[in-house]
Symmetry: D2
């Protein structure tokens, strides 16, 4: 289900180009393809003949870039772009990335980030005490101060020094007049890939789908702990640490990433089909049709249908033109808002036993409305199958599940949820099923996946968030003793 | 395929409410659901305590209504709304409907129209000679002048008088302080349906999907030649002529209408599934997978897969966030614009024999780019199957196919098209297959469908367009003698 | 005093060009110079190679024309522009002029108007009964319907026919593809002048200041009852009636027109200087300095100083940058709004006996605040001298004094006003003094001036407004018996 | 002459309030009155219950604050506002002040500046070397870094430490949650005054006119080297250095400041009147009328008229409504742009010998056009009298005369300028005349005025600008040997 409907949000998308005459245009196109990763703000810094020029704004890329000259002003042979969803840091222009730092002596630096740092708060306090002035309330800026205060003598050495001081989930990209730099955290939580343009230039971005769209050829994923350096001498795959252990965010496969992307060699659509197949094995049910919630659950629904032999049908339609934010009509009509975005095809579902496949269950509000929609269209029974395990724990690496008190599965047993959602049966994919469906070839725990939001097993210390988690868990166990029952 | 991609356009969507406290809000919601019928302008007239108030503008509904007070100012117990794509009349604010006429003596009248009048030009010339002043360049206004110049004494009688003078394809809706009025042309080219709101009020609108979305219950389609009168004494199903013959626009079923709508009793999604099934019977091919062009061709693709037994797969993905109009990058990158909107899932299509199902073929430009996209993703062979007959003739009843010189099938043989599109095979649904797939229970020619754009058989005289058609045909036969060969 | 401060408003400014390559640009510049005549809306129609194109909007000219292409789209060899303050007709886009009428058979007509018609309401009712449809709620449109329904056979004959049917105060301008037409009412209430451009083209506009600004040479005023026809055969000074009698609106000289304009041969600044001199003769007072309320009263203040021998001083300063509409701060601060626009120069006025010259007294609200401002700055005594007679009667010819209940002088004696305003003395210019100061060389009553708002002597029948005036007068005599005392 | 016409620009206006319920509203009103000091950007920081909130933007105050909620969001008991013209630092949002610094440990600081620092460049380079990151390209930010890196332990001590490190011309204001702070450079180049609000709160701002407008009572000017501290214990007049010497910018009196302001006890209007009187003594001429260029030269023109006995007349009128930036029409019409802003009253000047008084001569472009305007209106002879000495040297303390190559008087002799301007005679006020006209009661050189742009005598070392000046002077002496002749 699209985030428009569900309200579970990824933080950011990154896209940078080095050494191509159309760097800014390519970045603009690439960000369009990554728009699903962040809709609250967008920006591009172009390395032009007149130095670094930035255009950024609140809203979708198409709301930020409204005039050709806004793009034209960025043209040069390198560019760095960003689409943003804000977790840490308010929704103000100052926080829209790339951040741009002007150094009169050493040249400008543009910086963009996807992820969340677990020790940003304490690092910032230390830096401020040392006289540092921050221009934004976003965590990202910490990295720049660490670079500038490093006692190393080259930019790359300073950058490595800084990267070793920040913890958590991050994909960082930096642009200077000398090069484009990309780094991934030691667990590789967030995807980041390198590609080559037809004319020889280099693209680094969040997803392979964006490489394809701009005609670039995939080279490789940025490794955990890796630092990719692109400059006049070419592309170098370096690293800033060797203490690494793969733990890719499993929500990328389940829900966030585009189906046409591949992360660490696994195609997202196909991973979802396998989740659907596995779900059909783990949680079979007798039914007439299988429907997915458009659009992100369609792959898993197809998988469920293929494995179970139950026909795949288009029971729900998503409106293409309903604006992201539309004027909320009066209270009496507010409950109709899901019906603006989704509708049932009555003759398809009427009188049928329906397997409804959804990729995840967050607050349950939308699922309850979809179930009602199918009931109103005459569905005889509804069997909700979630192609991921129950979401029960906060994420501190860049996904907006920092508070668990609104997570349905963190507060209710499956039996209770079934009643609350009004379905005839409810079942989830197992954690093992998820891991085998994604099927990463890694010897790391959980086959190289991060499954912390399902199991509470965090791959790193939580630093500034330790106390937060402890209090979340305390409240969780008080409220929902029955969950583990 | 969505009109965003293809550029074949419907003219308008209508939505009116009588006797509900939330009339304007309901209309606003309803128009969202009808947004696919027109994206160039939108407007709502509300019958408020302070008389009729209008808000309208160029662009999508969400671009026109940007502040809650714009909607609030329209609140009252009746409203009439319109979304527009402009065929006749330029793209200027004056032409955005509903048109609103202020009469100091007899009260205001709002007027909205979906369709195209074949004798508007000659009627307008006559009226102007008689002293009439037109405020817009749209055909629609003609009706109002005919009403005002009628020698009948009641509004309904004047309206019937006027409706008998206009020819072509039309669904008209009018709102006065006394009632809401809806009329369909004698052939019922354009859909128009009546529903009842939970609190007893009445909705009349273009598609049943909009009824469902606002919680209204379907009552019946407006009959060809029918005039529906809704006022304080209730709903009356009247008519202004009995010389009628059903000829529903077949493009509504093929491409325009929402899959969750029902027109004259036929669900659009299911009709498309049947078109796909029939196409598989008429034009079978040995292949590994069936893919549809998202989103409008997915139903037909499912039908083709079901009938042929070839697996239905998600070979193409549509970007959800690429703006309707995005800044065109430099020439070198322009050819990428389809890749911004559609992409192939490489591991799904690589090495496969692909049946690509598209619902229609207009200029062929987009189809050619999609074919290239699949080739680049490694498709072994591509068999293009169009789930409608070849488009060869102009439409004069409200669809934007007024000029044939850009229609691929009007200018090339199937063999030539196959080469131009770069496909391994190409085939279309037959006209008979189309008629049987839609399966209207009508004894009118073509089972009550208008198939003029496929066959040139126009159900009405063409009036002002007679000469146009003759010259179109002359050029057609000169250019493409081989088409009929 | 500027209308920003006082709130007494003229209705409109007109500017048209025929036969110049820069017609639209010249019109745009000319309207800037006429902006004081109307700030609520602006529009220009250009006669381009692609027919008549219009750009119009609500607000100042600079708010309506924000992009060069808006002006560029209007370029051709003729243009008609308008700035508007709305008296009759609400403040909606539909009423912004020029009105533009599209006739498919006879070509487009643009129409602009300055003034007020006294029989518009009854004419419109008659026309609607005859089937006419109006596109705006403004009076102006009546003329177009009368033209189209005339039984004359040429456009000029139809126009003359129509002009003879409308009554009141009007300057009309029309643009067709064949010519530019300008007509003045039989009393010449509103100014309208003709000039010649350096390259031979013709300008017709409201004031000579606009001629000067665009480099045009003044030719002559449009005569009462005159019709000026400009077409390919040149400029003809025709007339539609010979029953004329000059009655120029005296408020043009007193307050509205620019000081650098000349109306019927009289320079406005110099007329104001003479009003100030005459006022000093009629109403002398012993004082230390003379100050005018900036900017429109400075001329009269200079005249008063010259005649009285009392030094002219800059006691008040007007803020140049305070926006026309600024955000109203909280109630407690609202009374400061005059201080945002005007301030006293303390050392100039402190301890001085001040003659404060203002050009007119409308509601008295602003005058009271200015008096307080001078008192706070230490003025010893304040002698308010108004360089026009007391405003007591409504205007029906185009100035926004249609209701008298807010006019201070219509409701209070001079003695009472002196107390209410808090001044040491108060005196007005006499009607005879006004007439002699303007000094028009006309044998018509009041030397060719309309002084109806001072004396109630209306130069024409009032038609639809007869009843209005009667009720105004009745209330006036009840409320303010003492005025005549 | 207004800066709209001349293009000589002040940098900024400051306005801060401490301890008033309407702090943000009062600041908003006050900035309106200071708008003449900067039209390129505006901003206000409000100290609200929710911390410091800022609203800022490019353009006039009225363009930046367009919705009541923008102002409402700033409401609290303290505020700091700024209007800006950019000299150093480009015209981008980042540079719009007040700058706002967020410190998670010690609380937010807002900072606003009027002036120019002569050692900003070298300080910034040193700071960057020490790891500092700047968020803007404006000089202002340097002060904040110096504060944060000070080894003092209290904010006031850190601030004094920092103020002693910056050189040049400055008026700084800072707002923290604990107080409002204002400092003036050791020469008092830029005006800064303290006032008391009716309810006991404190205002500090650039000009007394703004105090008057908001109803505040003047307390005293901020002394050179002074630091005013306003907090919960009241207002303290402290200082950060005692090495001071008054050198008020003489352009404030000549041209920039409002006529209703008083700077160090001298009313600006009256100083200008005295400049005009002195000019008449120094440079008399036989003539019929004296005219000033509206609006800033009117005071001096009055003085010239009073002293010479030649009648003061309104020969030129300034258009009130011509937008700051209007669409430039085609080249052929571009020369008319002065005529859009100024026009001559023909009957006033025709046949007359005119003394034209202007307050300063910058590039001479506008003066030449005004002379032509008067000639076209029939002036018999034109004697241009400039009420200030010739501008020949750059300013480094905050006025935009940093480059001399465009200054007419720096490149031409008076005789040459007379010819270039097309006047019958040309003369300037002497430096001594200027000093005596302003008449400050100071024993500092030049009676406490800075006259560097006239004489090249800079009151301070020029630091980073030393080399600039040397190269400017070298070029000057090469180009214009005749100037000293």
């Amino acid at each position: 289900m699209s985030d428009e409907i569900k309200g579970l949000n990824e933080e950011c998308g990154l896209f940078g180009v080095w050494d191509d005459d159309h760097a800014a245009d390519i970045t603009y196109l690439g960000l369009h393809i990554l728009q699903h990763r962040g809709q609250e703000g967008a920006g591009i810094v172009g390395l032009t003949d007149a130095g670094m020029v930035r255009h950024r704004g609140l809203g979708l890329l198409a709301e930020v870039f409204t005039k050709p000259q806004q793009l034209a002003s960025l043209r040069g042979r390198a560019a760095l772009g960003h689409v943003r969803y804000s977790t840490a840091g308010g929704r103000v222009l100052e926080n829209i990335q790339p951040l741009l730092f002007r150094f009169t002596t050493t040249g400008d630096v543009a910086l963009a980030h996807n992820g969340n740092l677990t020790n940003a708060r304490s690092l910032r306090a230390q830096l401020e005490e040392g006289g540092a002035i921050f221009q934004s309330s976003s965590d990202t800026e910490v990295l720049m101060h660490l670079i500038r205060r490093s006692h190393q003598t080259t930019f790359v050495a300073q950058l490595k020094d800084a990267l070793n001081q920040v913890h958590g989930g991050f994909a960082f990209m930096l642009l200077t007049e000398h090069g484009l730099y990309a780094a991934s955290d030691p667990n590789g939580f967030r995807p980041l890939v390198v590609g080559t343009l037809p004319d020889g230039g280099t693209v680094i971005c969040s997803e392979t789908a964006a490489l394809n769209a701009v005609g670039a050829t995939f080279v490789q994923d940025v490794a955990p702990g890796g630092l990719v350096i692109v400059d006049q001498s070419g592309v170098r795959f370096d690293h800033y640490t060797t203490h690494t252990q793969l733990a890719v965010c499993s929500m990328e496969y389940i829900y966030f990433a585009r189906p046409d992307s591949e992360i660490h060699g696994v195609n997202v659509h196909q991973a979802r089909v396998r989740m659907g197949r596995r779900l059909a094995q783990e949680q079979p049910v007798a039914a007439d049709i299988v429907c997915g919630v458009p659009n992100s659950s369609l792959s898993a629904a197809m998988g469920y249908a293929q494995e179970s032999g139950i026909p795949y049908e288009m029971g729900l339609v998503k409106s293409q033109y309903v604006a992201r934010t539309f004027i909320q009509p009066t209270q009496a009509l507010r409950e109709r808002s899901v019906r603006m975005k989704l509708s049932a095809i009555r003759p398809v579902v009427a009188g049928k036993r329906v397997v409804l496949v959804d990729d995840s269950l967050v607050r349950g509000t939308t699922a309850r409305q979809i179930v009602k929609l199918l009931r109103d269209a005459g569905a005889k029974s509804i069997h909700l199958r979630i192609s991921s395990p129950p979401l029960r724990f906060p994420c501190f690496y860049g996904i907006d599940i920092q508070s668990t008190h609104e997570l349905m599965a963190a507060n209710h047993s499956v039996a209770a949820m079934r009643t609350l959602l009004g379905v005839d049966s409810l079942a989830f994919l197992s954690v093992a099923g998820l891991e085998q469906s994604v099927n990463l070839t890694s010897t790391a725990p959980h086959h190289g996946l991060c499954v912390a939001y399902f199991t509470g097993e965090y791959p790193t210390p939580l630093d500034d968030y330790d106390a937060t988690l402890r209090s979340e868990l305390a409240q969780l166990y008080i409220n929902v003793g029955e969950v583990s029952a």
